[in-house]
Amino acid sequence: MHSDKRIGVVLCACGPNIAGVVDLAHLKTALSGWPQVAWVEQDNLPCSEKGLQKVLAWLKERPVDALVVAGCSPKEREEPFRKAFKILGLNPFQVLMTNLREHCAWVESDPVQATRKAETILAAALARVRKHENIEERSIPARPEVLVVGAGPAGITAALHLAEAGRTVHLVEKTAAVGGRPALLDELYPKLECSSCAVEHMMDEVLHHPGIQVHLLSEVTSALGYAGNWKITLATADRGVSVEQCIGCGACVEACPVSAPDELMLLRSERHAMHQAYPGALPNAPLVDWSLCLRAREGECQACLDACGFNAVELKGSASATSFEVGTIVLATGSGGTSGGARRLFTAFEFERLSNPSGPTSGAITIGDGDVPKTIAVVADETADPLALINASKYTWLAVHRVPEARVHLFLQEFPGPGRERELVREALATGRAEFHRLEKGAVEVENEAGVEIRNGAECGVYDLAVHCASQEPGADNEALSRLFGVKLSADGRMTTPNPMMQPVAAHARGVYIAGAAAGAATLRESIAFGAAAAAGVLALYPPGSDLKLEPCVSVVNPVLCSGCRTCLQICPYGAIARTPEGVAFVEASLCRGCGLCSAGCPAGALKTLHFTLEQVLAEVNGATQGGRA
């Protein structure tokens, strides 16, 4: 019972810092007479080793239920006194440190005023500590397994780091191949090295690592649970081919009778229903496009089955579901943007496909009908992200060096500042076959039969081929993923973290990490760095075999009073509150950060944040305004 609680008070002199201004003897006398104060002691430096020994001795000789320490900042010094309580088997949250130094002795030079203020501060502290409750410091069991969604460079890096650190990783990839976007690009900034070569090694490693289970052609359909304990369900499409059995000879591909224009080849060549995702895709096994496949549509053909001499063709024809449990999640689902039948006007990704030696033209930069362009324009959108500027300078350099017959026109808002982009652009200009145009506001590119017309301010030109470098698009599935994993999206559809500067990978939901282009435009180097950071985040959350520590001072719902109005759900920045089937709010303690925004806004008083309940704060306020002796 609060009214029976016996309270000990330790006044810290802090050398001359407090005692020099505040009349501690007067305070000690005054407080000793207050209700529920069992004893008041003074020490020069109770936070020191010797001082703490003394405090322990007092607590042992004259046991109390709660302790107020009047000294400096609780943020710095409350912990040792809490430990003292723990040593004695008492609850550390019955200790309250209040500030008589920075809040009193150091800012009020008049001893009479300072002593009066100290008394008020202590009145508030005593009133508050009377209402303190025991709070348990809890941990919950947490699974060591990790889910990584997306097998691009960020996801692969995270998966490999985690697997090397001994974790079991489920790497889930939507497409049939690992490697993500870089496996499809041409040459990478800044050294213009071959993109697929750069990521080849990690693609191999991830497919063969014993700690990593790779689920291709799979998407997460449900993620139920909370930090340390999620049940994940996947839907896996039927590849039509067993990756384990397939030796990658391509006989089934040749035998397949149906084909359609290939988007990754800019519709300039066809691929069969049974096809390799793209040249060089790993794992080296084809997959079936069921929308093309004759067997799926008419039920007869089995050309691929007959052609295969290794029993690798397995036409199940239906998706399968898998479930497993994990403790942490890394989302590395990358950016959006697809390729189509570009003829003259290309997006950045389409241009990469065109110039890729494994692309539709073996890397020759040609217009859709095969003609070599005489004029090439490269335009970086005025509102585009830095990656677009990097791409524009790269493509200008590439166009000049790959198409000796062409003049290249670069359109940018400003000439690039010092750096690799400027070097590339200057080298291009030095060949005498490139020009820089200042991009005006509202410039427009229009593709027609004759070419790409670019209206730039007063200037107007027609170019045989143009590349438009816009901002990297957000991942196509970001909306759905944000709902599945409780991740918040920015206004332009990217995944966000609560504090992009100080915590670049930790999402709002505890135990979920975001890496790579999913969070915004990223170069390959950045994606790999963030993938490693996400792995570090996972490993730091809890070592395997140990429990996940919960924030002790969490918010708790009283289901009797909760009317299910959903105000708290709207307020919580971390998605830690859900609505139960019975229609009341529920705070998931493993996600709660103890900020108390919810309880301050609950209209029914059904939510309380432990250690900062309304009752406790009111007592403190009452003590501060009315002396709180009653």
Binding site: V107, K117, P573, G596, A600, F612, V617, N622, T625
Partner: protein, 142 residues
């Protein structure tokens, strides 16, 4: 004067440490209550402070955009706007409820904000004037 200040654990409490460390004068009429976030301040606690006789309540949090808990300070800003409207109807000058921001390194700003708030409250005078019982316009009236 009886003034209550709510300080958020991350920015404004640290700012108060900065002010104290520099020995900047803080009026002795104000007592600080530590909360985790300016968004943790329950509007009912603010009204209770005034009902308990506080002459002024000052809430100090992190600058908008820098809240440790994403947007608690913006929640506080909306709540303060509404509480002021209620205070006005109850004849309590809404200026008696203050809301401002100070980051952890802004010890001087902290001291200045508190001193200025104190000065404004002194100018307004104590909140709990004795209740003026309505004097009847005519002796003996109901």
């Amino acid at each position: 004067m009886k003034l209550v200040g709510f300080l958020c654990n991350w920015c404004s409490y640290e700012a108060s440490m900065g002010a104290g460390g520099r020995r900047l004068p803080i009026p002795s009429d104000i007592v600080f209550v530590r909360v985790m976030c300016s968004g943790m301040v329950n509007p009912q606690a603010v009204l209770a402070a005034f009902a308990d006789g506080a002459d002024g309540v000052l809430i100090l949090g992190c600058h908008p955009g820098s809240c440790h808990y994403v947007d608690g300070n913006l929640q506080a800003q909306r709540r303060v706007g509404l509480i002021r409207a209620l205070l006005k109807d109850y004849g309590v000058n809404p200026e008696r409820l203050g809301l401002d921001w100070a980051s952890a390194s802004e010890g001087e700003r902290f001291a200045q904000l508190v001193q200025e708030f104190h000065a404004r409250m002194v100018a307004l005078g104590p909140q709990t004037q004795p209740l003026v019982l309505g004097e009847p316009p005519v002796e003996g009236v109901l």
